[in-house]
Amino acid sequence: MKAITKQKIVFSILKVMSFMVIAILFLIIGFIFIKGIGVINWGFISKMPEEGMLKGGILPAIVGTLCLIGGSMLFAFPIGVCSGIYINEFLKDGPLKRFMRLMTDNLAGIPSIVFGLFGMALFVNKLKFGDSILAGSLTLGILALPVIIRTTEEALRSVDDLHRQASYALGASKLYTIKKVVLPIALPNIITGLILAIGRVSGETAPILFTVAAYFLPKLPHSLFEQAMALPYHLYVLATSGTDIEKAKPMAFGTALILITIVLICNLLANLIRAKFKKK
């Protein structure tokens, strides 16, 4: 066979396989969208679950997930950004910096269920927070730390050194330069990290299983020390262990659609910010 014919065949196979990957994505999202869109209405997102979670809405799960997002980011975002600033701006290249990066990578590679075990052992049992929004938020925050640290570091690295040198030349201190020159330039990309972390945190189930998630709790949380429902766990419950799994399917599709929508919006937002500030 001529080499060029062979190439044509191989290239078309590769093309088809790549499109298959994209097709899988559209299949999953499309399937959940088509099955779930009929369920979504104002009542679905504003009512309590009724009749063994077969009717009504998923408000407590939505509120619970929002609480967890808020709680985890309140804790992880400042620490993550400070950590990124210190590692990138203050540490010199060397073993210490490599070690810090290695630890961040390691933390990112730990399976989410291990975070669940850890959160249960430390926050729920040792610190006696019990199954609570606080324990869940802290566990999810730890899980999100590497995402925020990495994007912060990347954002800072992409700031041109000329900006720093110009600021130093004017007599500004290092800290002042970081605050007034470097951070404002890097901010959009740092925000990207925050958004990606929110997307990640809102979908995680394993870490909240034993730290916060309630099977069924038809009321809104009032304090940090209460249990709460959460969207991903609610979907898991509806799909596998509800009172009537067949009848719960529409509710499950609706929940899945809301969950996917949150993730889609986060990804889209992050990409938009990235694209907008790249051009400048």
């Binding site: 999953i28 993550g80 590679g109 399976p111 291990v114």
Partner: protein, 397 residues
Amino acid sequence: MFKKLSQKVQVGVLAICSLATSITVILIIIFLFSEGISFLGMKPTEEGYVLAVNTKNNLNSISPELCKKVFDQEVDNWSQLGEKDMPIELVNSDQIATLYSEEAIGSEMEYLDTCYNDYVSKHVGVFAVMPKNYVTSKFKGRVVEVQENSIASFVRGREWFPTAKPIAQFGILPLLMGTLIVSLGAILIALPLGLACAIYMSEIAKKRRRKIMKPLVELLAGIPSVVYGFFGLIVIVPLIQTLFHLDVGETALAGSIILGIMALPTIITISEDALRNVPNAMREASLAMGATKWQTIYKVVIPYASSGITTATVLGIGRAIGETMAVLMVTGNAANVTLNYLKPVRTIPATIAAELGEAPSGGIHFKALFALGCILFLITMSINLYVNFVSKRRGVK
């Protein structure tokens, strides 16, 4: 003066924050391993019960696994335990109650201990399960020690039966096998697809198309695992069930397919990076020699990027091994030692997720699940360190 101090404080705060990840990793190790290691050395017997035999019997200690076989009557002769040839006579409180008259036992079973004592002393082949407080100085039988959990019994045990009574079984072999075959299947599905996609995006596709594809692949990574699990449960599981005419569609294969999809973004992003890092001079040199574009990719670009592709594969496997929710939902969760992809299996993370809620805090089952967590942690940690080592070596070259 004051300004300088405040600056120092601010830098100090930054420095402390930067320690967060290291501290967390260390805390995770401490908490995971302190619970996990204390599992070793515990006895898997039901709280408050002991095993007893006749004094003429030489048996001193028995492994939990053999013990279970005795209770399941798979082992029913003492010769199989290295003793004299005689049948094993299994008794527990219920059987004692039927063997003795009501007067002998007492209306509130208050003489049950005497009955035990009597029965064990008279029957040479007896193997009794009895409450611990019955063993007093008057007891005429001998207590058999159940061997403690050890790394060997943990790793080699073929049965995972943490709530079995009177002897719980903590063998992780079926869980380990389940995790490995599901992950292996996942990588067999994800590697060809992912590699093809990476090659297409980095070498063949026009810039504009690549720009569209890249965020889509990232989106695939963003979909929550519970949504993958739900999709698998609704679509893949019934499909497998009808396709292979099975009773249940929740199989290792279903898990592999879902995990394969979930591992795709990792494999694609990292191998694409590796391919794009191949210097253009290499490609140009090959093309200038008259090679076609495909020959260049096949003979020059891929070999050059091979270590990056290996990294991608290893990280993909790591992702698959640690994945919890999706696997929990589609693999059926039966602890089988099997290589059959059409059978239900149970993985390590799924076991933790499914059982931790029911295991009483601080008990042996609870600790066994933490020991599983340790194993998971060690596997993923070594994968990370390996990848770090490889990429560092590549960086030096």
